[in-house]
Structures are given as C-alpha cells and as structure tokens.
Symmetry: C2
Subunit: 255 residues, 2 copies
C-alpha cells in the first residue's frame, strides 16, 4: 500500500535489530523494509551467509536505503551487542532457560521504558530455519516470543522483525496517518426537514398503510436516518434523491 | 523460526481475508503463511492477475496447504463480499470518505465482537501498488489503516495481512506458546547460607576494607544476589563457584 510522504522526516530512534547468520539477502531486505515502515533504522548483521553489501537485500528493502547504508557487519555476536544495555532474544521454541519470557507488547513496553532513560537496546533474531542457539540466547536479558497458531507456528524472520517494529511504533501511541474528514454535522432542523419532506412524499403514495401502523412505520424510518448521523451535505443529497423519486413517479404517471 | 507442533489442531475461525487484484503469486503465498501463523484460514481472491491455482503461491505459503486449497476466486468484489455482514477496507492513504477510520487494534476489537455474535466478517486488501479504489472502499463498512513511519509508509500486502492476522490472534488473549520453566525458588535459609559462605571467604582475603565500610560493602554485595531472585540450583552453583575460587587461591599460595 502506498502513502509515503517523502517530505516528512524519517524516524530513527529505537532498538537496534540484530540478525544472526541470516541466509537470504531477500529476507534481510524485507526485514529492513519492515524496520523503516515502523521507524527503526539501525541494523546489525552477524556473519550474513552471502556477505554484505547485498544487491538482493537492497532491492527487497524497496527504497529504505538509509537503513541499508547504515547496516554494520560483525564476526561475533558479543561484539555486536557490546554497546547495548538490554537485549531481547526472539525464540519460537521453549528453551527451558531461566529467563523471563514476554510477548511482543510487553517486551516493547520494557524497551520503551529503557529507551526513555537513554539506554541503547536491541532485539536479536536467529537463522531462517534454526533460530538462535541456546548459547546465543544466553547473551540476551529476556526472551520474546509470539502468540501464534500452534499448528502453524513457523514465522519468517522478516515477519518477526515486522511484528516487533510494529509494536515498537504502536508503543509510541502514534496517531493514525489520517482520520475521517471533517464534515459539517446536520442540525436537528435539517434532519427534521428531511423527515417532513420524506414523509409527505410517502403519504402521497399511501406508503404508511394501514393507518394504525403509521406511527410505528414513521418511527422505524426515522431511526434509520437518525443512526446514520447524517451530515448537512448528506441530508441535502437525500432530499435531492426524494425529490427525484417523486418527480420520476409523477412523470411516469403523466405518460 | 521453527516451533510448529503438528499434533495441534489448526485454528480456523475468524474474518475472511479478501485480496483484490493481487499481482504476484509470491505475495499471495506469503499472505497465506501469515494467515496460518495467526489462525486465519479463509482467503478469497478477486481477479488475481496470474490466475489461480498458483505454484509460486503454494511454495511461498510454506506448508499452509489448508489455506491454499480452500482459497476461492471471484470475478467481482461484490460477489466476494456477498455473505459477509461487516467488512473493513485497508488503506494507507486518506480517501476523504465519510467512513470511520480505525487502527488495527480497534478494528480487531470490532471484528471480534461481531464474530462472537456469529457474524461473518472480512478484511479487504488492495493491489500491490495502487491499493483499493475509492469505489471498492465504498463497499466496506469502515477503513483500517496502520500507524506507520510517514517517511516510509509503503507496506507490502503480505505484511498488512500479517499485521491484521497478528492482531486478530492477539485479540483472543492467547497465551504465549511457552514460559519460564518451573524452578524451585531458593529459601531464605539457602540465600543466607550463600551470603555466609561468600562473606567468610572474602573476609579471609581482606576484601572488606577499610573496616568502617564493611557494612555498606556487604549490603551492596547481598543486594546483587537478592535482586537476581536465585533458584535453589543457582545458589548451589554459586556456592560451588565460591569454593572453587577459594581452592584455586589456596592452591596458588601453596605453590
């Protein structure tokens, strides 16, 4: 979906994303795109299988060149984490490790709290198939896992990066990019004018029949328009519609 | 990330995902994989460019064959929506339409409420580049949009499907797939035993110096172990460690 506004400044604050031993450039690129979508900008790769830089990754990043260009490569996970104060390791499997296990929402709350204090944090993602080793996870402070369908739990790393990045920006309480356009709400006078117009037209056609049901029928009709919370323009359009229908009928009869 | 448990039953309840005019089989497949990850199972395609079935889609679905096989194709969006009672249209752009605009979280709350009442609902996603037309959006009840980085707002359709599916399963209040393993918490007696062991060893080495700072130094050390909320096993390991260090020093001195 499009909607990019290139005049706006890129957000770039937030946890560092660390990919351990990623195999496919395409996955790295898709992860980068997801990071950029939700305002993360710092990526570190530990021993990417096909080396770095990667044309495949750049293509899949779909224009997030600021993240591609800033990506740093490390031989060693410990080095990649050295300047961070708090690190989450993602895992889909139970590791029987005495580390707290959090969902993405809760993990982001912790990351945001530390971020506000000026700490530099990170989120660790493992290899496409094998994930992170227990040794690697032991270097992190806590584990984050996703509430998934147990019958189909395998998340792609780019998808896992997307979910964490999404939660990160959600945690900012960011407003939606757009809302319902302003419209002039109809006054009750306008609304009652519509009712009168409509009911007079329907009376002419003997729509409210039998007479003893009239009151209920009128009430039901009015409720329909009432709950639509019509704007001034919409009432105008509806009155035009009623007028047109009346006219069509009278014309048809004249023939 | 792996972690699939094939013995578990597939979840399959929830909104229908409708892709309008998808271009690439790979995107359809990745969307299917994301649906399956978070328990959605019903996909409808309106005029997929490269036809259906699609081998590329099946490959990208990474084993979510139950969704691939159940996918239905329509010529016409109205037909694809005919049996639904409430539909969200996704959009990254402002359409200046008098429809409520929600974030994913709020949209899912509405979908869940209606789902509980037995309603069949849907979420509509547009073409890779152009999204949905205003005419198509007009067929939906409300709009859902994602809080994204305004400088890099372009979300891939598979990513958009992933986020809605993720929110859907989150809305179920599903527990995480695993937690911290049970461990026997240490009794205070065990903890105080460790303190005594450690402090005696350190006293021998005149670690607590000068004497008037002893109380504060002891307190600081004890706090470190206190806040680690040690288990019985961990205390055992720490006492072993202290004993080993003591031993090493005495051996070294003996030489």
């Amino acid at each position: 979906m499009s909607g990019t506004d290139y005049r706006r400044k890129t957000l770039s604050d937030g946890p560092v994303i660390v990919l351990v031993n990623p195999q496919l450039g395409e996955n790295i690129g898709t992860a980068i795109r997801a990071m950029a979508n939700f305002g993360l900008a710092e990526l570190r790769l530990v021993n990417p299988r096909d080396g770095w830089p990667s044309d495949t990754a750049r293509a899949a990043a779909a224009g997030a060149d600021h993240v591609v260009d800033g990506t740093r490569v490390f031989d060693d996970l410990e080095e990649a984490l050295a300047d961070l104060t708090f690190v989450y390791a993602t895992s889909a499997r139970n590791r029987d490790m005495l580390k707290p296990v959090r969902g993405p929402h809760e993990a982001v709350a912790t990351l945001r709290k530390r971020h506000k204090r000026g700490e530099k944090t990170g989120i660790l993602f493992g290899r496409e198939r094998a994930g992170l080793s227990n040794e690697e996870i032991a270097l992190a402070d806590e584990i984050v896992t996703f509430p998934v369908n147990p019958a189909f739990a395998s998340l792609n790393i780019a998808q896992a990066v997307l979910l964490m990045s999404y939660e990160w920006l959600q945690g900012e309480g960011r407003p939606l990019p757009f809302g319902v356009p302003e419209s002039i709400p109809a006054s009750k006078q306008d609304l009652f004018g519509l009712y009168e117009h409509l009911e007079t037209a329907l009376d002419k056609e003997r729509y409210f029949y039998p007479e003893h049901k009239r009151a209920t029928m009128v009430e039901n009709l009015r409720n329909i328009f009432h709950k639509a919370q019509l704007s001034k323009q919409e009432i105008h359009a509806l009155r035009g519609m009623v007028a047109a229908l009346e006219g069509r009928k009278s014309r048809a009869r004249k023939k």
